[in-house]
Amino acid sequence: MIEKPKIKDILDVIGRSEHFTDYLLLIYGPVNQDVIISTIRLAETKLRLQQFPSTLISRTKTICAEILQNVNKHQIKHELYQPYLVIGSQNHNLYIYSGNIISENSKLNIESKLENYFTVKEEDFKEFYIDSFKNSVLTSEGNAGLGLLDIFYRSNRNLKYNIVKVAENLFSFNINVELHHNALVNT
């Protein structure tokens, strides 16, 4: 029995976007390293069961790992709003939706990064990605600050996001990633 009414809200919100019709996986609640490992394994199993091509499965695993590790590092506990990750499909394309509560500092950091990525021209993006990778510095916590960039790059820039204030200094960060089957099988 699902007690948290927010799950229904999440599905309603995602359902309204009408990007996909088939729900393949929904993870709801706090995330830790064990949840990440289990989610990636489950996602792989579900996608293999549905006979998605290996290219798409591989990229989904990498993107989900980055999304969930970002959630793990930046999530803020909140009574009503819990992190979620949904994988869905339609017409052989995959959709990964995720959300979590973040602080104002994280909001400013994320907005600054993503706004910067969107300003880079498509033809220059690979060079930008390589330069960012080369010049990044690993913190003592092992953060390279490249997670969002990697998601952006691997989704061929098919990433949308919104950040909504839910309380003082707390924001809901939602990210939607689309993986188009045709774009990937041709890479």
């Binding site: 290219t55 591989s58 990229r59 790992a65 990778f133 080369k134 092992g142 390279a144 490249l146």
Partner: protein, 125 residues
Amino acid sequence: MPRLEIEATGSTPEVLLDGETRRLNIRGICTPENPRQFFDPIFQAMEEYEKNHQELTIEICLDYFNTGSSKCLLNLFYMVSNNADLKPNTVVNWVIEESDPDIKESGLLFEEITGLKFNYPINNK
């Protein structure tokens, strides 16, 4: 002979650095919460290895890895490519899946950045 063995976990690969066979093998999944913490013993063992050896075969076979680990792998390749004694005698086998172009692309990226020459054997697991 320096030797480092790390067993695989759900989020980290198995690692074997063997001074006798002159090989460094990294195999599995690499998404540790703190990649720096995971890679530090490898860097330390490599520093020791470099003092006594002038050749090395690195074989990396990863299903997937996170960006922090990617940065650590880059640092590992920098370590090798910056060592004049080791660099000409280092073989890097970046094992790929035929059906997964992403892993090969990552290898090509490391190759481009570090100037090391990579081989791309197909995984025959």
